[in-house]
């Protein structure tokens, strides 16, 4: 087990407000990590920092990619994504007016090239590429039982399926780390159970590191190998589910918040 992502003393200030202060963490290959904490603890902000949606005020993020270790600070979101860090969003952000297939194909954009000439004049190589990439995407969709809805517009899918599609889209990036931001939000227990199986499957079959933000504690305890707890922008604790369950600071911060 070696470290794939290392975060050192990460800080993010919004004006006078410190949303994330001195957060350090490490992620290893092929592990399933949960990030928990009360509302407003800065979990999504941390995700946004790691995936380049917002830039950190200070601190360092280093990632061991296929081409050696790189620093992610200051890199654009699309560059970070193409390095192998994919994500989903708390409020689903699918390409609503595109089909299910196109949603997945978009995520594969940087994995292939269609020359300008072959695109504009529809040379045979264009058809070949399109067919090949569509086949890949359909296969991926099939793994998640979405093969029947390839031509459906994303906005017409039921809510739970939309969440699933967002995960598929992220996987289409062929990521090394997958960040899931509250994947079970708004789901009923049955859907949550499905999702739990899905995440396990993803982690097992694709051999990637999965980090998830989740409020559903049963899901977290059931899935996560390790847990990070964030409170008021700072890292409160980390450890295995059993350790976290017994950590007095966590219980105080977390339950205290939840009760009030």
């Amino acid at each position: 087990m070696s470290t794939i992502l290392k975060v050192d003393d990460l800080v993010k200030n919004f004006g006078g407000l410190t949303a994330v202060s001195d957060v350090s963490m490490t992620l290893n290959d092929d592990e399933l990590v949960a990030l928990i904490g009360p509302n407003g603890a800065g979990k999504t902000t941390l995700f946004n920092l790691l995936t380049g949606v917002i830039t950190p005020s200070s601190g360092a993020i280093s990632f061991r990619g296929p081409k050696g270790t790189v620093t992610l600070n200051g890199k654009k979101a699309y560059q970070i994504a193409n390095l192998g860090l994919a994500r989903t969003f708390q409020n689903i952000r699918l390409f609503k007016d595109l089909t299910v297939l196109d949603n997945v194909l978009v995520a594969m954009t940087s994995q292939y090239k269609e020359g300008l000439l072959s695109t504009l004049f529809r040379l045979p190589s264009y058809y070949k590429k399109e067919a090949k990439i569509a086949k890949e995407a359909t296969e991926l969709l099939a793994i998640f039982d979405l093969q029947e809805s390839v031509d459906v517009l994303a906005k017409n899918l039921p809510y739970g399926i939309q969440r699933r599609l967002e995960i598929v889209r992220a996987l289409a990036m062929k990521p090394q780390i997958l960040f899931l931001d509250e994947p079970a939000a708004g789901m009923n227990p049955e859907e949550t159970a499905d999702l739990t199986r899905l995440i396990k499957k993803v982690q097992r079959e694709f051999h990637i590191t999965v980090v998830l933000i989740e409020h559903d504690m049963s899901l977290v305890m059931n899935l996560a190998e390790r847990i990070y707890v964030l409170d008021h922008g700072a890292m409160l604790a980390q450890g295995t589910p059993t350790e976290i369950k017994q950590n007095p600071a966590v219980i105080k911060a977390y339950l205290g918040e939840e009760v009030s």
């Binding site: 999504t44 946004n48 949606v53 917002i54 969003f89």
Partner: protein
């Protein structure tokens, strides 16, 4: 006709400020309407034209005095604004914004060409109800009408600011501009608030029509086109949605145009305005006074 450099400078400053106050007057209405329904109300410049024509008729045929002409033109502007909103924009409130924009352009075309059709497109002279008087202050010329426009522009700006900040309707307007759905949930009458905003903004244009007609002494059905676009630029530069921003933007554009012309580059005065617009937007994407709202992820 000789003048010292300093006198010329102050004269140009006065020229710039009076031109700027005209843009500011129009930009106020633009900024209010945009602030509340995020629509570039292309027809705003044409309501200004309607105000000018109304002033022309009531002064010439009903012999209104200046104040009544001004107030009635504001009323006409307000009514026109509300009617346009009711028939042309309200049905499209949930349509794509670009559709509403095209409708606004359509309304603008309709007013311009409708007036051309009814009254001809030849420019008319505006009745000189206030005799222009020039004051010489240290060799700098300033006319009573220039002062009147400048004072009116500032006064209206203050009144608007008070309405928006202090009154109940103003609060409703601010609420609707932030989140119309939430505003409706807390019991704000959306339609009435938007109508009120149109009435207020359009009455500014009506007033501007009379004032500018009086100042330049020339009105025609297409008079709203160019100043309309310039005023919108002024509102954007100032930060659209912001009342002080619209005024500052107006004065800025007026002064800039004057500066460019005074150095002999009159052929490029519009180009300079657009260039400054682009530069300001690049540095301050929401204009000088605008709040840059980032999308929440």
């Amino acid at each position: 006709m000789e003048a010292s450099t300093l006198q010329t400078f102050f004269q140009q400053l006065i020229n710039g400020l009076s031109l700027g106050s005209i843009y500011a007057l129009l930009a106020l209405g633009y900024t209010m309407v945009y602030g509340i329904i995020k629509l570039i109300n292309f027809a705003h410049g044409d309501i200004y034209m309607l105000g000018a024509f109304w002033g022309y008729y009531v002064i010439n045929f009903w012999h209104f005095n200046f104040l009544f002409a001004l107030l009635s033109a504001m009323l006409v502007g307000a009514v026109a604004g509300v009617i346009i909103e009711y028939f042309a924009y309200r049905p499209l409130r949930h349509a794509p914004r670009i559709t509403a924009l095209i409708t606004a352009i359509g309304v603008s075309f309709l007013l311009e060409n409708g007036m051309s059709y009814l009254y001809g497109s030849t420019p008319r002279d505006f009745p000189q109800i206030i005799e222009p008087v020039n004051y010489h202050v240290f060799g700098v010329l300033i006319s009573n009408i220039q002062i009147l426009i400048l004072v009116t522009a500032c006064l209206l700006m203050v009144i608007l600011q008070v309405i928006i900040k202090k009154t109940k309707m103003g609060k409703a307007m601010r609420a609707v501009s932030v989140d119309p759905d939430a505003a409706e949930l807390v019991g704000i009458n959306l339609n009435r608030t938007i109508s009120f905003t149109f009435a207020l903004g359009s009455s500014m244009a009506g007033a501007a029509g009379v004032l500018i007609g009086l100042y330049y002494n020339s009105i025609d059905p297409l008079m709203g086109m160019t100043p309309g676009i310039k005023a919108f630029v002024a509102a954007v530069v100032g930060g659209i949605g912001s009342v002080p921003g619209a005024s500052i933007g107006g004065f800025l554009i007026g002064l800039l145009e004057t500066l460019v012309q005074s150095v002999g580059l009159s052929a490029y005065k519009d180009a300079a305005v657009y260039f400054v617009l682009i530069v300001i937007l690049l540095v301050l994407p929401a204009g000088i006074f605008g709040k840059n709202i980032k999308e929440k992820v």
